[in-house]
Amino acid sequence: MASAEPAAPRGESSGAARLFAAPLSLLMRMIDWPMSALQRLIGERRMAYAFLLPNIVFFGLFVFLPLIINVVFSVTGGTALFPSQRPYVGGEQYAYLFDCGSFLDPNSCREDHFWRGVSNTARFTVFQVTAMVLFSLVTAVVLNMKIKARGFFRAVYFFPVLLSPVVVALTWKWILQRDGLLNAGITALGGERILFLVDPSWAMFWIVFVSVWAHMGFYTLILLAGLQAIPADLYEAAEMDATPRWRVFWRITLPLLWPNMIVVIVLALIKGVQTFDEVFVLTGGGPGTATLMVVHYIYETAFSNQVQNFGLAAAASVVLGLVLFALTLAQLAASNRKGAA
């Protein structure tokens, strides 16, 4: 795939790259003509705006405009897609979403699926972030030890990061199914087969497990970079004093790694709250609604339900957006502290 890209690192001299480069450079020469004319007209310094224009158009059309329309959707009702055909309903969508007897019990809410999604996502995120931080920390520390074949082992832990969520989910679905590898192992050891994706608690366990399996390598890399930035003479001094290893870890490694840990925690939180792909393919939100996530709820409400309720989906995404905004502020605060440290 990558060798077909014009900008592939070694592509300059290869035949495939030349095949791509020829029409591309012709195109660029054609663009040069109006661009030069424009430059004569507005001067070279204002050309900056011309270079920015395509990006601004894309950002505007697909990010800024949608942000505004999202709010418009969330305060209008009906099933029409075009805002001009949607009646204004004020805060009704939000009121409907938040109409709950008790926020701790999804069954007491009018829109129980949303709250089930909230509660599942919250549980998932807590478990997943905890496991993610723990395992990526252990892996990073182990990879940072004086081990042989470090590059190989780093690659082993990293490669699932690049797999598509569908591939990840199907790989595990094949292992977890009734007659799958795991159940074969269990029966070989004399146990009973377990229907992993039919039992609600097991399903939650496995989506956390699979998601940690798939994304751990990314966070391990961030922590590994942090570990490698710790000055080696600190460790040498500790070794001279014959300090026990656990003490070295507790007193030197962990405090100096803390800024990276915070980045990992916040990034994992931001990703965790938006979990959808792997869970959708692995469990489809099931059994029942045991693994239904907030993003899954939004997708379902807007696109896959019989009645497409865009207003409600938009209101739910505004709520999700606010949560993400708060988490992002936390991230910025954390990375500022990292810069200061």
């Binding site: 900008a7 894309f58 949608p66 942000l67 252990v138 797999l163 598509s164 679905k173 961030i222 807007a302």
Partner: protein, 350 residues
Amino acid sequence: MSLVTKLATARRKPGRWHWTDVAAYAYLALGVVLMFGPVAWLAMSSFKTQAGLLEFPPSLLPMSQREVVVAGHAQPLPLFEVTMPDGSTRVLAQVRRIGIQAQMVDPANPAEVIRVPIDKRTLVREFKLATENYTEPLERFAFMRFLWNSVFVTVVATIITLIINSMAAYALSIYEFRGKNTVMLMVIGTLMIPITIILVPVYLVVTELGLVNSLWAVILPGAATPTGVFLLRQYMLTLPRDLIEAARMDKASEWQIYWRIVMPLAMPALAVLAIFSVMWRWNEFLWPLAVLTKTESYTLQIGLNAFQGELQTQWHYLLAMTVVTLLPVALVFVFLQRFITTGIANTGMK
């Protein structure tokens, strides 16, 4: 010394084993099994026949029963190894099974029927790759269509991403102009807006543009990426200004400077962004799922997801198609791992 013995004897200081060394290697060994195992199992399973996949407990390698064509029988007959009453073993073909008795024939002498109790025979199995799992979906499903759609989206989107983001990065790194800080702030702002929270309005925009069910609906919304602008701008800031000034002296237009001077120099950063873009686009799921509703416009990921709903029992096709989907990413990983890992370490993006 082989790698295994090297690994087994590796330690911090020769002659001194600390328990943490043992624990570290145990952890790494477990990691290899846990991380590689599932994918290896997927790949091995994808070469099993449909009957082979239904076996429980499953065999490790793709094995299938050996069959033989015997004169007088239309269908090929399965071969069994039979323990005869006198203790010798013979390889016989089974004609039919009645209760606990099997009627068998010697392929060399098909006229004589031998009755054998079924517990006295075992299937003769051989290692065989069921490559039809890979070839049949190509004919029977729209698999090639999905593959082509994915390749098209990935290549076109990556080219557009590289061009428009490098243009913006060029403007933000080379020029001083009014509103530069505002633009930078806007770019930072969009960093925190994932597609998950603007799904509905982007769908509206795409509908207004008449792009629903077209591949452009997948390509365009993600083309301008703030991470890409950042990555490229950071790199372009390090380029020597003299070169650009010299080019201006030589009456090169700004576009020529961008295309002829800055772009070639920014190749390392462009390569990183290209690799990331390929990964993003090849693996993208939620947005294509929302916007592509016609089978002929499905990308590979969406098609695979649709298959797993329809083909519940046809794991042999599903597994093979999953392996095909995984292959390009595996190749990219094998050849460009170093680029990717340093890219992530430097930018903290994925």
